[in-house]
Each structure stands twice: as C-alpha cells, then as structure tokens.
Amino acid sequence: MVTRLKKSWSKPTRARLSNLPASLLIGGGLVGFLVCVALLSFVWTPYDPITIDVRNRYLPIWSDGHILGTDKFGRDVLTQLIMGARNSLFVSVVSTLVSLVIGTLLGLYVAAAGARLQNIISRGVDVGVAIPGILVAMVLATAIGPGNAAAITAIIIWFIPVSARVVIGPTMQVLSQDYIEAAFGYGRTKWFVLFNHVLPNISSIIIVQASVMFAAAILIEASLSFLGVGAQPPTASWGRTLKEAQPLMEIAPSLMVVPGLAIVIAVLGFNLLGDGLRTYYDPQQARKR
C-alpha cells in the first residue's frame, strides 16, 4: 500500500533526471559519447586510418578537410583518435569484464570458505594488489612479445586480486545476515545462496568498481602503448600516437595535445560515472564525503 502511494506521488521522469547526481550525468554523458564514437568507427571514419598521404603532412588544426590536422604520415588525426578510442575501449572492456567475473567468483568463494583458506588467499591478494600492472605487462611482453594480448592479460592479472578484495568484505557482511542462515536451513547449497542472495546485494559495489577499473584500464593501456609494450602498428592507440608525437613536439605540438585530451576525457568520464553511481546507490554515505 505504502509503495503504491509513493508511486503515485513520484514526479514524472524528466524531473527525476535532475535529481540524479551531477557526476553521474556528466560521467555517463562522456562515457556514452566515447562508446558511440568507438562504435561509429566500425561503420565510418573521416578518412582511411592507414592510408599515407605524403603531400598533406603536418597540417595544423582546423585545416580544410582535416579538422584536427594530420600527422607525420599525412594521416588524419581525427581518424586516428576515433580508432584509438576503439582500441582503448576494446582493451579496457575485455580486461575489466574478464577480471571482474573471475575476481568476483574468487571473492565469493573466499568469503564463504573457512578461516584458514581466507588467511592464505587474502595474503596472496594483498601481494597481488601491491604489484603494479605495468610491471606485469613488462614481464608478459618479455615472455609473449609486446601487443594488445600482453596488455590485456597483464591488466586482467592485475585486476583479479583488486576485484576479489572489493567483494570479500561485503560478501562476509551479507553472509552474517539472518536470511542467509534461513536459506541454508532451507537446504540451499553454498553457490545457490551466493548467487541468489549475496550477489544481488553486492551488485552495486561491483558496478561502481567496474567503472573505476575501466578508468584505470584506459590509463594503463595508454601508458603501455606509450612505452611501446601495448598495441603495435598499424593498430591506432592514444598512447602510441603520443609516443610518435614526442620527437615532433617543436614542429607539431597539437599532435601531442589532442590524444592526451582524449585520454583525460575518457578517464574522467569513467571516474565521474563511478562517483555518481556510488552517490546514487548510497546517497547518505556520499553526502558525508
């Protein structure tokens, strides 16, 4: 009865949109824009991304036909940027999703396991969190050669302990509730309880974590391809575009500014989205911050 009353009193959708946290709206907008651009690259780009046009090298910003100018091979910078968005999102989506699934399963399992296993695994998780992702990537690049595969695998290895650690605490909290005991008493198996009762209760934490991890993955991908350990030519990548622009900073400084701004916008978008989601799910906790 109460809920029905509430429903009839609630305002129409447009008014509620403005009640959402500003960071959620801005972040969501930036991320949405990024995704659209990356998807667009599959059907259309302003120019062909790999065709070399020697006559039109180093065109400045706002040139005819090349809004963001061209690079040292005469390739359109805007096209490189769009293709870079695709690579950046590809790497971060694959690595984040895989590590979230594995990390969450690991976290759920550890939280429901006995104290001894918990001690061993959480010690291991602590060590894993301390190892920088870039180091893992360097080791992998030595082993399997540089490229997107090394970058993605490294980010996954780095993220699994991170996401497991985020899940363990809240899972243990939920597991101590009475209704969990009731479910076990009803004869439910461990994994049934974990999936049907625990997971929905911690899903907001996982979603916020995913957003933060997307941002971190984009930063790492850019760093790795800047170092030459990530995506290899001809795959366009923001980090590598910056690396190629570094020796040209006196002739064509705009080549260096544009991809960097793209990285900042992408990371800012996912960070804000994460912040906004956190406020949205837990407004009281967020107000204290």
Partner: protein, 305 residues
C-alpha cells in the same frame, strides 16, 4: 617473504611463457646445433629450480653475470640506475603527500563554498591526467617554450647538486600530479570527519581560532589516511616512474627494464622487477613506521597494551 613469492611468480611467468631465449637471440636462420650450444652457454638447459636458485643466489651476492648480449654487468648496471629511480619515487611521494595534506585540508575547510568546489574539480581532473602526458606538456611549456628546465636527461647528484635538482624537477611534478589529486580527495573526506570531532570544538572553546585548532590538532589526525592512501599508491607511483623515465630520458631502472624487455633479457627483467618490488616493500615499511608515529594508539594496540 612476499618479495620471494613475487620473485618466484615473475620467474615462473617468464619461464612458462618465455619461449626459447637462445632461439630469439640467434634469429631465424640459426641451426639447431647453434641454439643448443647457446642454451648450454647461457645455462638455460638446466632444471628450472637450479636456474632459479642460481639467479636468486646471484641477486643477493651481488653477482648476476653479464647480460645475454654481453654488453654490461647486470648487477652494476642496476646499482647505477637505482639512484635516479629512487630520487624520483621518494621525491614524488614526499611532494605529493605534503601537498595533498594542505590541499585536502583547504578543500575541507572550504567544503561549502566555491573555493572548495574548485579544488574538488581540479583534483578530479588531476586524477584523470596520465603522468606521461603531463610530463610531455610540461616539457613543451617549461623546456621548449620557456627554457627554464632541461627537456630530459639526468645530472648525477654527486656531480652538480643544483643541476641534478633541475633535471628531476619536471619529472617529479609530472609524477606528483596524479598521486596528489587522489590523496587530496582522501584528505578532504578525512578532514571533514576530523572537523566534527569533539577535540576541535574543545580547542575552539578554549579560545583558539578554527584554523589554529585545525593546524595544531586536526592535521596530524588527517595525516593518517594520507599514509594509508600513500601505501596503496606505491604501485602506481613506481609504475609512473617507469613511464616518466621514458618521457624525460632518465637513465633509471625503468629505462633498463624497457630495453631489457625489447632485447628479451630475461635475467635483467626478472632482476629489475624484483628490485622494484623490494623498493615498494621498503616504502611500505617506512609508511608503516610513519603510521605509528602519527597515531601512537596503533602501536599500543599492536603491543597489546
């Protein structure tokens, strides 16, 4: 202990996925006999744990042999390159923690007005700027345009102290930017909690101004989360150092690691990675000590008092 576990993991990863180093070094035209001969020469034909103990023993007895390409002594090389990396890492950690403490306090004291919100926005953007891009922009502005600082390279500290500071100033600024921004946000929320504490109200009731109460009593309490976040940021810090060395062409561990990755110098890679892990552990230990100094209650709890 965790360093040893780390060294085993790194070693295993490289050996499992590594492919045949001898084959890569000799190139595709190598005959089978040449490959086998080189493997014996490099000691790659032995069982894995013999190789492991050979390496880890050499690591701690300062004898890692020469690189596969034969151009340098690995241990000496690591020793030479340790100093610039340590300068960068510790310098940025110190700069960013002090800066974050003050910026975060400032943001908390001004939480309700535009000054505080502006600090929030700047720190939010600061976290999104990759250190290497910040470095590139700094070089364009302060080296190429203004000519205030060298665009790259490193002057050893024993040769020219001021020149050395000048050569690592921009890299430290670039590295500190992100870490300062992240830490500032934590200081701000910690400071907001501290401002509601009774002891701040008591101090103000005794006639101290709000700012004095905050600086005398609040800052030390707000510094505790700085140490916690600092410890969590160590991995990022060292990762950033590797990238920044590449931007400013500083001959540190990161550059050594990068060239070793490209040359598939397995022993160099695993040794440098181990050194970096050890640096992280030592910094962690130092922050742990700082923890106890800032909040004696933590020591009491540990000693069971």
């Amino acid at each position: 202990m965790s360093a040893l576990v780390g060294s085993l993991v790194v070693f295993a990863l490289l050996r499992l996925l590594g492919g045949d180093v001898a084959y890569i070094l000799l190139g595709k035209e190598a005959t089978q006999d040449q490959v086998i001969a080189l493997r014996i020469e490099l000691g790659l034909d032995r069982i894995w744990f013999v190789q492991y103990f050979d390496w880890i023993g050499g690591f701690f007895s300062a004898n890692l042999g020469t690189s596969f390409s034969g151009s340098y002594e690995i241990f000496d090389q690591i020793g030479q390159r340790l100093v610039p990396t340590l300068l960068l890492a510790f310098g940025s950690l110190f700069v960013s923690m002090v800066l974050a403490l003050f910026l975060g306090t400032y943001a908390a004291l001004n939480a309700d007005n535009t000054k505080g919100i502006a600090t929030d926005i700047v720190s939010q953007i600061g976290t999104a700027i990759p250190a290497f891009w910040a470095g590139l922009i700094l070089v364009v502005v302060f080296s190429v345009s203004l000519g205030w600082f060298p665009a790259g390279g490193y002057v050893p500290i024993q040769e020219n102290f001021l020149g050395s500071l000048r050569s690592i100033f921009l890299p430290i600024v670039a590295l500190s930017l992100g870490i300062t921004s992240v830490t500032t946000r934590f200081v701000r929320s910690a400071m907001l909690d501290v401002l509601n504490e009774d002891y701040i109200r008591t101090a103000m009731a005794r006639g101290q101004t709000r700012n004095r109460a905050v600086f005398v009593h609040g800052l030390r309490n707000a510094a505790i989360p700085v140490v916690t976040v600092g410890a969590l940021q160590l991995g990022n810090l060292l990762a950033g150092t590797i990238v920044i060395e590449s931007v400013f062409v500083i001959p540190g561990l990161g550059q050594l690691l990068l060239s070793a990755v490209n040359g598939r110098e397995v022993i160099v890679v695993q040794s440098v990675v181990l050194v970096i892990l050890l640096i992280i552990l030592v910094m962690n230990f130092l922050l742990d000590i700082a923890y106890g100094l800032l909040d004696p209650r933590i020591l009491d709890k540990r000693n069971g008092a």
